[in-house]
């Protein structure tokens, strides 16, 4: 099955699960109140995140054909996303300043005069197009990696916290060992083994970033296990896995959501450094920034590459951080108590 079918399937899956989530939230009073509170606090940030997500989704729907791509013959046979199709044939020969009519070096006239809001890069690709393509990569790095790291952390953390004893020692040893090894070494070794595709970089990042939340989950589970309602459930003869599923996990729900959001922005930011080290993901904003960083030393300065990629990265991270704050204020019981 070609990978673009897989991407379309993921998009459908995501939209379906969002719908289901919305229904569940509307039915569950606690979560609908939280959602309303969230919207009240940071409407703008939520809108920005939704915008990035929609661009990423638009960029994940692929199909072949129905396009004449001028001189790039291979494009005819390639699966192109909505974003690709929107920017078909907008490439130039080389650099051009935003809204310019002529090339930056040499002054040759452009094919699309004045139509490049962020100019074009050294290969003549429209910078706005590259920035939009970056959204999908950023959401993949942040979203997929966290979606792998958090269940991993929960698995080990809850098990260690709930069962204790040898399991706890084993997990604690694993955590200590993993955090004692420099993250970069682990990351580069994993990427060497798994290869440099987006999924494998996400997997490698996940393996190196689950340790923090695992400690939190373990601590929280230790506390929950002692609470009366868990002992009561045990007294009623509820089986261990049942207790974990129906009592422990729901009480960690708020922590999961908060950590997901904070992990998200941390990972997307760290991708820029990975690109600088040469193990980043193709087409990411980080890669754009590193590629454009040399342009800063040119005279006259080619600023729009690094400017556009930097602004896009900053916009997403700022929005996600604000949403993260709001989520923590809404969901975290301690802050709820502080409110009363």
């Amino acid at each position: 099955m070609p990978d673009w079918w897989f991407s379309n399937a993921v998009v459908v899956g995501l939209l379906a699960s969002c719908g289901a989530l919305a229904v569940y939230v509307r039915r569950n009073r606690l979560w609908s109140e939280a959602a309303a509170g969230l919207w009240r606090r940071r409407p703008l940030a939520i809108l920005v995140v939704v915008f990035y997500a929609s661009v990423a989704l638009a960029d994940s729907i692929f199909w072949i054909g129905g396009v004449d791509a001028g001189d790039d013959v291979v494009k005819q046979h390639e699966a192109l996303s909505l974003v690709d199709r929107a920017f078909l044939g907008t490439s130039e020969a080389s650099y051009s300043a935003p809204f310019a009519d002529v090339e930056f070096y040499g002054g040759a006239p452009l094919q699309q005069q004045g139509l490049h809001p962020f100019g074009t890069d050294i290969l003549g690709r429209d910078v706005l197009y590259l920035v939009l393509k970056g959204a999908r990569v950023a959401l993949l790095i942040g979203g997929v990696t966290s979606a792998i790291a958090i269940p991993l952390a929960l698995l080990f953390g809850v098990a260690a916290g709930y069962f204790g004893g040898r399991i706890d020692d084993g997990v604690f040893f694993l955590i200590s060992t993993l955090s004692a090894i420099p993250g970069l070494l682990l990351l580069i070794a994993l990427i060497m083994v798994l290869g440099q595709s987006t999924l494998s970089v996400c997997l490698a990042l996940a393996v190196t970033s689950w340790v923090g939340f695992c400690r939190v989950a373990r601590g929280e589970t230790l506390k929950l296990r002692e609470l009366e309602f868990v002992q009561a459930a045990r007294a009623l003869g509820v089986s261990e896995p049942q207790i974990i599923l129906r009592h422990i996990l729901p009480n960690l729900a708020h922590l999961i959501v908060i950590t997901y959001v904070l992990l998200f922005s941390g990972l997307v930011l760290s991708e820029a450094v990975l690109s600088w080290l040469g193990i980043g993901i193709q087409g990411s904003w980080g890669q754009m920034i590193v590629q454009a960083s040399d342009e800063i030393s040119r005279e006259p300065v080619v600023w729009w590459n690094i400017g556009a990629a930097g602004a896009a990265l900053f916009g997403l991270i700022l929005a996600v951080n604000f949403v993260g704050d709001a989520v923590r204020d809404v969901l975290d019981p301690r802050t709820l108590r502080e409110e009363a």
Partner: protein, 680 residues
């Protein structure tokens, strides 16, 4: 705490604030060098990665030669200005003529200049208490040639010298003795070489004469005697600096006879060369030795470029007291510090040839600052190679493979590539030979090196890939472009090539892996397309065409022929021209070889890079030398002008500091006011 919160910020606070500002501005100013250095004749330039070794027998990279070339003197040298390159005597009195002797052998006789002396070093203490140096003898040259043969030294240039009589024999004997005889390897190195019986073809009749006898003619040998490999090396240094205890290794502690010595060697931060008082040019200016006096004539254009200034012509070298190579890992600081005048010339490019430093052309602002660009075509060629062992693009695909390679060659426009990535520098390559070499035909037009997409598409049809579609899969033909450069900047360059081939409908995927995996792929032939370059050792066509001979194929002997081009006809032609003299007959053979390459297309020749140096107008006598290594001794600095220019260009702009301070205080005031309002 209570009192000060009550009243306005006391005087003490204001004083502290002013103090901080003063301290900040005092330490302001971005001159990275101690102020005392301003007036001295010191050249500042940068390097990216420190050379792995400075051992003259091993150092083979451009960043290493930039140092060994100026520290180790050689028997012969290249004339600084004349192009094409011309040999001049260095430590030798004259350039020897090859004498044919019995048995088809050839002899070269070098006569040394009198009372040459090594640079001072504590290792000479081995020869007697308190001795800091000693006279250079012909045995020191022989010792170095034997080191090249020594397997333990693992010199990359063993092969070119193997034509010396008994060179290979000496290597086997040495290896055998070390393997069998117990404790032999522990003996002093000179004794080991004597016990192994030395090399028959290297004779030292007396301290001032060296004779080299070749088993078969090899005219290019003389060029090797203008490279640091054949410099005189004192055995005391090799024995003393053995890396035991806290002594450095000889590879990190050069002891030579050149115009400069390595004063300090910190691989992570700075490498400093200082003028060598014992150098023969300093000891005996009266000799007016060609290697120690500024040349009086040169190539056309040298005069206008100011390289034949009457005050410098005929002056004894060297002019510079000190040369500082400062490490700059990133291009932003490297280039901008050059623009600010803190580097006199743009630094040595990063070692790997495939990421040429992205430095700009001469922009109006740079011209206004008097920055100049000197370029000479470098005796090198960058090319895209096909793995001829590959079933799809290789020789085994016969006509379809050839058609595919020809079509892909027609899609690449070297001029456009140079415009985008080299700022227009570099000569588009028509064939493997760079300009300035015998056999280079300036008006040869390679039919497959001019963009012609129509013809390319026709060729693809003939090759069975109509519209770039692979009949087996019905999809665009999928090829891989293999590289070990994972940097984002490198990626841009390869993406450009991919975009050109996409116009033919061929989908090439860039497979950038780290060093090990890349070597792994190359070793077992699992690669299709790659980008590589070759820098000449010496200006002779043989040094380029040997790259495509069967014996040199990677899959045959692990040699530099990464394209694995194995063509009997080509090999035969190579044998014919290899040792021929530069005559019309040799030119004809080269032309035939070029025809063959044109048709077979193992390489898509891209361009011959122009060796460039951006330099400020206070750096005199700059001429990029490509091959010729000892360049620092010819350069000069107008330290006074540099001081003025640096001053003028680097006035710190202080008013923003004031604005920031005011803003900071302005932000404080409402805070303090709310605090007081809060207390009512």
């Amino acid at each position: 705490m209570r009192r000060s919160m009550r009243s306005e910020p006391t005087l003490r606070h204001r004083l502290v604030a002013v103090g901080c500002l003063a301290l900040a501005s005092a330490s302001c100013g971005n001159n990275p060098y101690p102020d005392s250095e301003g007036s001295k004749k010191v050249l500042y330039t940068s390097f990216v990665d420190a050379p792995r070794s400075l051992d003259p027998a091993v150092a083979y990279t451009t960043s290493a030669h930039a140092i060994t070339g100026n520290v180790y003197d050689t028997l012969l040298e290249y004339h600084y200005l004349k192009r094409p390159f011309e040999l001049i005597p260095g430590l030798a009195k004259s350039i020897p003529e090859p004498e044919a002797i019995a048995g088809g052998r050839v002899r070269y006789r070098f006569d040394l200049r009198p009372d040459l002396v090594f640079a001072e070093d504590e290792s000479f203490g081995l020869g007697g208490e308190g001795r800091r140096t000693r006279a250079i003898e012909s045995q020191d040259f022989a010792f170095q040639l034997m080191r090249i043969a020594d397997p333990a030294v693992n010199s990359p240039v063993y092969e070119p010298f193997s034509s010396i009589e008994g060179f290979g024999g000496f290597r086997e004997r040495l290896g055998a003795l070390r393997a069998e005889e117990e404790g032999f390897a522990g003996l002093p190195i000179r004794e080991q070489y004597q016990r192994a019986g030395g090399v028959a073809g290297i004779r030292t009749p007396d301290v001032s004469r060296l004779e080299v006898i070749l088993a078969e003619p090899y005219p290019q040998l003389l060029y090797w005697f203008a490279m640091p490999f054949t410099t005189p090396v004192p055995f005391e240094a090799v024995e003393y600096w053995n890396g035991e205890g806290d002594r450095e290794r000889f590879a990190d502690h050069p002891v030579g006879s050149g115009p400069y010595v390595v004063a300090s060697y910190d691989k992570e931060a700075k490498i400093v060369l200082e003028a060598n008082p014992n150098w023969y040019g300093v000891q005996h200016p009266e000799w007016k030795a060609p290697g120690a006096t500024y040349p009086s004539e040169g190539e056309a254009g040298d005069a206008e470029a100011g390289r034949l200034d009457p005050q410098t012509v005929g002056q004894p070298l060297p002019f510079l007291e000190r040369v500082e190579f400062i490490r700059e890992r990133e291009s932003i600081p490297r280039f901008n510090k050059f623009l600010q005048g803190y580097y006199d010339a743009s630094g040595i490019a990063k070692e790997s040839f495939d990421s040429v430093v992205l430095e700009d052309r001469i922009s109006p602002e740079m011209a206004a600052r008097g920055i100049e660009l000197a370029k000479t075509v470098r005796p090198a060629v960058y090319y895209i190679g096909f793995n001829m062992d590959d079933p799809v693009v290789g020789a085994s695909a016969t006509a379809s493979g050839r058609g595919l390679r020809q079509a892909m060659s027609l899609a690449i426009d070297s001029r456009e590539y140079a415009r985008l990535f080299q700022n227009g520098r570099g000569v588009p390559a028509e064939g493997p030979l760079p300009p300035g070499l015998f056999g280079y035909d300036a008006d040869y037009q390679n039919p497959y090196r001019h963009v012609d997409l129509e013809r390319a598409r026709l060729l693809l049809v003939e090759a069975g890939y109509r519209g770039g579609v692979d009949p087996a899969t019905g999809e665009p033909l999928r090829l891989t472009f293999d590289t070990s450069d994972t940097s984002p900047q490198g990626r841009l360059r390869f993406q450009w090539f991919v975009n050109q081939w996409r116009k033919l409908g061929i989908d090439v995927e860039i497979d950038a892996t780290n060093y090990n995996q890349f070597q792994e792929k190359v070793r077992n032939g699992a690669y299709q397309i790659f980008m590589w370059g070759w820098v000449a050792d010496y200006p002779d066509p043989e040094n380029f065409l040997f790259l495509l001979t069967t014996p040199m194929a990677r899959s045959v002997s692990g040699g530099p022929n990464t394209a694995n081009f194995q063509n009997a006809e080509f090999d035969a032609l190579f044998e014919a021209m290899e040792t021929a003299d530069n005559g019309p007959e040799r030119a004809a053979t080269i032309a035939a070889m070029r025809e063959l390459l044109e048709r077979e297309r193992p390489w898509i020749e891209l361009f011959h890079p122009e060796d460039y140096t951006l330099f400020h107008d206070w750096l005199k006598n700059v001429k990029p030398a490509g091959i010729s290594n000892p360049t620092m001794k010819y350069r000069d600095i107008d330290a006074g002008r540099r001081g003025e220019q640096r001053e003028a260009w680097n006035e710190p702009v202080l008013w923003p500091a004031g604005v920031l301070a005011v803003l900071f205080v302005a932000a404080l005031v409402p805070g303090v006011r709310t605090y007081f309002r809060e207390r009512q």
